[in-house]
């Protein structure tokens, strides 16, 4: 039991390292590296868009938008600010806002631009992206089911907080406090390792 868990973690660790190395090659316009990034994340981004309410044709189209952006912005990916999956999630989220919510993601672009120029990595961020991602994964595994449900509905299914509350027949305050608890656990995981 313990042995197989270790083996799985090692395989995941290698995968995450691979994607950082692949992104470095994508920056050099390496199409086969880009294809490997697409093969892993493309179907996950499609799943995200289907869960968010896009029909299959639109989900497919958004996947293409996301990877056009991944190629163009490859030079802005900085491993010290997080795993490749986090970076692709933020690109997918922004395009989801533009295309599914029909709002502007410009404020997110502004913040990203400020981060690129201004932010010195702090002690936590200097932890390897891979190590951080594993801590986040660990925090997710330990999350009570009711908290996990709420954050999946928010992040993956793109449900507004108020709609999560009505779907689960909970007061809005309970949804908020479950989100806060999930975040607190994540923060604790990341901070205890410095």
């Amino acid at each position: 039991m313990a042995l197989s868990a270790t083996r799985v973690n090692t395989a995941e660790h290698d995968d995450r390292m691979d994607f950082i190395a692949l992104m470095a090659r994508v920056c050099e316009q390496d199409r086969s590296a880009f294809h490997q990034v697409f093969a892993h994340f493309g179907p996950r981004v499609k799943s995200l868009m289907l869960k968010s309410g896009a029909d299959p044709a639109l989900a497919e189209d958004i996947v293409q938008d996301v990877f056009v952006a991944v190629w163009r912005k490859a030079g802005q990916y900085a491993p010290e600010r997080g795993a490749v999956g986090t970076w692709i999630f933020t690109i997918a989220r922004n395009i989801r806002i533009d295309r599914l919510r029909r709002l502007s993601s410009q404020p997110y672009e502004d913040i990203e631009a400020i981060e690129l120029v201004d932010d010195q990595p702090d002690a936590e961020q200097e932890m390897e992206a891979v190590q951080r991602a594993e801590l986040v994964a660990g925090a997710l595994v330990e999350l009570p089911a009711d908290q996990r449900e709420v954050i999946e509905l928010a992040y993956l299914h793109d449900l507004p907080q108020s709609e999560i509350a009505s779907r689960l027949a909970l007061p809005l305050g309970t949804v908020k406090s479950r989100m806060r608890l999930a975040y607190a656990r994540l923060k604790q995981k990341l901070e205890e390792k410095i």
Binding site: G42, V63, D110
Partner: protein, 221 residues
Amino acid sequence: MTIAHHLDDATLMRYASGDLDEAFLVVVASHLAMCDHCRHAARKAEELGGELLEEAEAAPVQAGSFEAVMNRLDTAETGDAVQPSPRPFGSAGSDVPLPLARRIGGRLDDIAWRTIAPGVKKHVIATQPNSPSALYMLWVAPGKAVPEHGHGGAELTLILSGAYRDAFGIFGPGDIADLDEHVEHQPRVEDGAPCICLVAAETPIRFKGIVSRLLQPFVGI
């Protein structure tokens, strides 16, 4: 800039998951432009999204999907690469955070205020029709006290200049008051300078009664 009052964790997660309407997003992003602490915190909330994406089951893409991406890249104009804008504030000499500067220009002095009550001026910022919350700026005179009041819905107030004080403390430039619909407070602007702030407010239920109508100008502070 020392910032004492930050975003609620639940608000950070709404930002990270993409669940803020236009008005709230502009206020949150304007605070993030001014606040390293919340920028780092937002990144953690985004890492949660990254891991959920990583763990999501894969939905097969269509055959030829990757080739379609490459084809779009090969045929696209080259000039549309994103150019990062380097400064937290709109431009040199600006006192307005970048996400707000896009809406009102670079200087607080240039805002066209409208007086709505003695010592209180307002400037409404237009938002898209599918974004129900209101976005506006308030100018409140030095020393002005606002009667005790609640809010019709959740409300986010970012101080841009000057300061006010209420039961939660002193709120100065960069501070954010992240209040839910149940909070009541009685702010008073500090002496010496007007307080200028940026507000996102959920559309309130219609105010009833003469007292509420008299207080309506003060909603937002």
